[in-house]
Symmetry: C2
Subunit: 190 residues, 2 copies
């Protein structure tokens, strides 16, 4: 997706250790027009699989998942990291090791909003190690729903998450793939 | 906003103690089409104040803030509850007592994305006690920016948050106002 790649080239900052700062347009300040285009592009790649639900994890997955769901005309569900008091008592829980916090993150979803018969497209802002996305996939399976695809805005392919997601047997699509952040550079695949 | 009120009447559940369950369309599962309309309605109420930035708090403020920003054609910034490693070192921090957790929540924003010259519209999903919104208003002030308005999707007017926000001297608008949840009812103002 050229406008996204161009934005990463212009505003993305390599902070070292594989950490990409894109908080001016993706995950602190968000450019809604870019995000609408991102959602449209992700929806276009998965529409043929006829997902009836988009599923993501709070926090920074919410914006791209919402715009993808808007383009597909289906609801979006975001897994919660803390269980709100309004959550259904029989919530489904999975844990994922946190990349940045060093501890496990619990992801919770209500069986009211994900269940048998649902065809689920998982969307997240980043595909890095794939651990969060894998926890989302396990939640889909735990709910008895069918995972149909995985879409992300930015993939850091040098963290090899794609290989770990391969056993799920669904298409994995990313709008911008960064193959290296060595030596202070940000190498974006064509 | 009639379609929102109708949705609350049809799907909102009074869980007692003033707790409203609307997680089927607002804050766990989100209806993107409704949320786009919500954003359009909020934008229409504040466009004349010429905000150049929408500001909210993660998590459940993100969806309505994003669609409001989309309708206004301006960026949206969400205050973070945990400070990401990509955050600017001189971040601005405020705390708000959490309604549901019994402890304080820290809200953080980068001075890169909120500063002097910004005209800021604060958006959140709920106006209840107003404590989170007040912390957002203090962040706006702390950044040297100008608060121009406060908009929320659902106001629980019996929690009196609006009175506490009055000293900020800006318009406060909510798309649906619930005046009572006594005796298991959900009373929505006309």
């Amino acid at each position: 997706m050229e406008i996204l790649k161009e934005r990463i080239r212009r505003e993305g900052v390599n902070l070292g250790n594989g950490i990409l700062k894109v908080d001016g347009f993706i995950n602190h300040q968000v450019d809604p027009t870019l995000m609408l285009a991102v959602g449209g592009a992700l929806a276009a790649r998965f529409a043929h699989l006829q997902p009836n639900k988009v599923f993501t994890a709070e926090i920074s997955g919410i914006a791209p998942a919402l715009t993808t769901a808007l383009a597909l005309g289906v609801p979006v569900v975001y897994a919660r990291k803390s269980k709100p008091i309004t959550m259904h008592p029989n919530a489904i829980v999975e844990t994922a090791p946190s990349h940045t916090k060093g501890s496990d993150v619990r992801l919770t979803v209500s069986p009211e909003f994900l269940g048998p018969g649902d065809r689920v497209l998982v969307i997240d802002d980043f595909l890095a190690t794939g651990k969060t996305i894998e926890a989302l996939a396990r939640l889909v399976r735990g709910a008895g729903a069918t995972l149909v695809g995985i879409g992300t805005v930015i993939e850091k392919s040098f963290e090899n998450g794609r290989a770990d997601l391969a056993p799920w047997g669904v298409p994995v699509e990313s709008l911008a793939i960064i193959s290296s952040m060595d030596h202070g550079k940000i190498v974006i695949e064509d």
